[in-house]
Symmetry: C2
Subunit: 221 residues, 2 copies
């Protein structure tokens, strides 16, 4: 069984993988806040255990076994986040740290019970998909708000960044998953957007923010 440390490496590898599934050792080291030699030696260890594919001076790739292990840890993380928000009344900005610890608990029963109590949710409080028990992840094909154009409408469906700071920014603007945004205009100079939603008539969202809002886009009717 993977140690807590190994689990954290698997999760980081999963999250950092580029579209080809490759990860740099330096990115891995940075993500986990360890030195490069440390990351390097753990990658060798994971290779011995069949969880990653790796050759000297080449980027790392999770094997299918490694990918599944990682997805199952992420499943526990996201189920926990959802449980904390839906069943225990936490705010979406408070749950990451707790889930970071709970995800390492070995107890299929516990997570199945959470899943059941919530009616088998498919996304976590930040809109990220919850992998199924086989470690499969549904692909929602959401777009970044930046791709929407004036006149269109967009439903906020997930976030590309779940940091406390960003979540608090969203809280302060009353932006939640499910919020319907009308795109009023786009500023070509800095890529910022002016939108309206709910009782907010007019709000300017910077490029940085728009990039991190994942939406379903509709033609306004």
């Amino acid at each position: 069984m993977a140690s807590q440390t190994e689990e954290n490496y698997l999760k980081a590898l999963f999250n950092l993988a580029n579209p080809e599934g490759e990860i740099n050792i330096s990115d891995l080291a940075q993500q986990l806040e360890v030195s490069m030699p440390t990351a390097n030696s753990m990658v060798k260890n994971l290779q011995k255990r069949g969880l990653v594919q790796y050759e000297k001076y080449k980027p790392v790739k999770l094997t299918s076994v490694g990918k599944k292990e990682a997805a199952l840890i992420i499943r526990k993380h996201r189920l926990t986040e959802m449980f904390l928000v839906n069943k225990m009344g936490f705010g979406w900005e408070e749950v990451h740290e707790i889930a970071e610890q709970v995800e390492h608990i070995h107890s299929p029963k516990l997570f199945e019970r959470m899943d059941e109590m919530m009616g088998f949710p498919t996304v976590d409080p930040h809109g990220s998909p919850i992998p199924d028990k086989q470690g499969r992840i549904q692909n929602l094909q959401l777009k970044s708000l930046i791709e929407a154009n004036p006149g269109q409408e967009a439903v906020l469906s997930a976030l590309a960044d779940s940091s406390t700071e960003f979540l608090q920014y969203l809280n302060s603007r009353d932006l939640k998953l499910g919020t319907e945004l009308k795109i009023l205009s786009k500023e070509p100079f800095d890529q910022s957007m002016i939108v309206s939603y709910g009782s907010v008539e007019k709000e300017t969202l910077s490029q940085k923010v728009c990039e991190k809002l994942l939406v379903k886009i509709f033609e306004a009717n």
Copy 2:
């Protein structure tokens, strides 16, 4: 901050302490399933950290700081057990293993929320008291059923053993916390007792079982 391993040693020391608060290294080693030299070296480490009092060849004692740390871990354990039973529908025989892991989570918020959701319970599902936030433990002064005499009544209030096997034995006899037992007779030869309770007219409880049932005793009216 104490590591998970150190936390487990503190908890074991707390639970093994005799009435004078003393613990043998061999008992500690056995409880934690480690060798004696391992337990010995960890005791020295805890001593350096001011959590135990210790001199060569003498029994170990928790300091007041160590005792408080231990009690706060036990608080998390028992709150978790209660939460799993009351809020998540687990059986009392299923929760120990899970709580054993959850107790190491660092998140005051999480445990305070559990406490709040349950209305600040004072005992866990096995009747053991839940230490308060200062690590203080209420002393219930319960007696073992073995001390009750024919003609008296006793309310099952806690257990001196919460092993899965014992809990399953109790489940099979429909014995729960709160069950009112009438003592019909005591067998002087083997210290077994014949009792009635609920819809059970007559049940024989061995000495071993009676010793582990902690009760409040009343004169029958």
